[in-house]
Point group: C2
């Protein structure tokens, strides 16, 4: 039985813990929050025996095999490294770091400490996305010519000090949700040969929308993220022989539609729980077989992804005050 610790007790920690309860072979053992009462309340809900009022206490507690880092972006690198330095395996929320320097250092520590480290890019393990990746790779829709994916929701009415609208917390759309369309294009088409991008900024200084064109040898991807309106979030992958539409919201989808020669087939693939289950299963599989990284979402994959995001940022002038 793999013993899990949760670092941070916000919304995503709750969603993750609910899903963890659905997966065999793992159990939530310890919870840490900077607020001890919050940690205790969280632990009580999910039946975790241990609650801590600081992250360091959890790391020192010798109670867990692996921790899930569920804090804001800006603390991912520091807390992951702290956990690994205590010999703890880590699943860290996406983006695993806010820039490539951070991510490089994280993987260096993982190698030095000989622990497992993975970015919690949960969509990679979604059964529909896995199926779509297989279909694209085996040529089911021919040569890919066009990919369109977006992720946007209206958030400009939120707390300006909060995570999304605050530059000090690496706010804006790109790192939080733009990462998903970028991930999909990278997963299916690889590293782009050329990137064009434009961003608009909110009064707090965060980027509130970014449009991107990724050019490949024979294909183009149009990718978008935004906080100033919603988007449908149906992803489209179009090839010379047919198209795949990943049903909304595509990053947590339960199915896809395949269109070939004018025939349209709706496929319900399903998922377990909200879908964090599938990345949890991957962590279990890796830990049980002694693997230090996932072959489905490797260290290289995370490094490539942050490199692309760094490029988009440099082209659009997205900078954070702490860098």
């Amino acid at each position: 039985m793999i013993k899990w610790g949760i670092v941070g007790a916000g919304n995503i920690a709750h969603s993750f813990s609910k899903d963890l309860a659905l997966v065999r072979g793992g159990e939530l053992v310890s919870v840490a929050s900077r607020d001890l009462e919050k940690a205790k309340g969280f632990a009580a809900i999910y039946g975790a025996p241990n609650a801590y009022g600081s992250y360091e206490e959890l790391f020192k507690s010798n109670t867990v095999d692996v921790v899930y880092i569920a804090t804001p972006h800006t603390s991912h690198a520091e807390l992951s490294i702290a956990a690994m330095n205590h010999g703890i395996n880590v699943l860290c929320e996406k983006p695993i770091g806010v820039n490539k320097d951070q991510v490089k250092e994280m993987f260096q520590v993982a190698r030095a400490q000989n622990v497992f480290l993975m970015e919690a890019l949960w969509s990679r393990f979604n059964p529909t996305i896995k199926k779509v990746k297989e279909m694209v790779d085996d040529g089911s829709i021919g040569d890919i010519g066009y990919l369109h994916a977006d992720f946007a929701f209206y958030a400009l009415d939120r707390d300006e000090k909060g995570r999304l609208l605050n530059t000090s917390l690496a706010g804006g759309s790109l790192l939080d949700i733009g990462i998903y369309p970028i991930f999909l294009s990278y997963l299916l088409l690889g590293m782009p040969k050329d990137i064009k991008a434009s961003a608009h900024f909110f009064k707090t200084g965060v980027e509130m929308q970014v449009s991107m064109i990724f050019s490949y040898e024979k294909a183009q991807a149009m990718l978008y993220s935004g906080l100033n309106s919603n988007s449908e979030m149906k992803a489209e992958i179009a090839g010379s022989k047919g198209s795949i539409y990943i049903h909304p919201r595509w990053h947590e989808t339960t199915g896809y539609t395949l269109e070939v020669d004018g025939d349209s087939t709706v496929n319900e693939v399903g998922k377990l729980g909200k879908g964090y289950t599938h990345e949890i299963e991957e962590v279990h599989t890796c830990l049980n077989s002694g693997k230090k990284e996932s072959s489905l979402w490797s260290h290289k994959n995370s490094l490539d992804l942050i490199e692309i995001m760094d490029t988009v940022r440099s082209k659009t002038g997205i900078v954070f005050p702490f860098e």
Copy 2:
């Protein structure tokens, strides 16, 4: 009764003539093709009394009030100008010219000859598009933040000498179908402040796909056209208060979905015939009231549109050998 002539006897001339038969107040009187037998056959189908084996004969025939120019792009300017120089009003297929110099000259001739001239941007007169324009203008979905529209179909297996894949005929996706997404963005958001674009080219030298980012004061539009795969062709206009989805294929749509506060309403607006009817009605209204241009799709609108397309071409290296 307004007497129509058709210049060219290809697919779109047929579609147009079928729709013309559905509209009151106009009738097809004359048909011209470089092939007299083709013109006669065409005229017979639609009950037109006159058929000509050259365009010039039709222009000289004194049989028509207005002609519809339905030939390939590269002859639009020349034939429209020839017709106008005979005092004939003109509805010219889109793009009205292949570059701004041509379009400017066409409108100069229209003014000099005091005749009506309009680009056949039929989507402008589609009842759903008109409704969407009104809703965007009256703030139904708040401030627009994001627009996504594409138009793509697989055509790389077509005749390489044909219109689409031949640089000498101004082939490629941009002028033929990219004009539609560009039109929608221009109609709803106006002239972009910045344009980023990337194109890929086919072995015949034509551009086979082009991705565009149009930046406005507070909004971005992601526009795409391509010949190397299909696209769904559902257009999305997203604002701070809600979203409008124009049903596929959006450029000839019969309805839209409005989404506000999580409530989704499907609206079937309908259209008459294939939809050329609505631009024909606009031509009739203008001619009957002595107007020399449409207020819904004015000379300025056509000049703006070709200016945008010229900009996209200059940014992506799309050039035609005859320029």
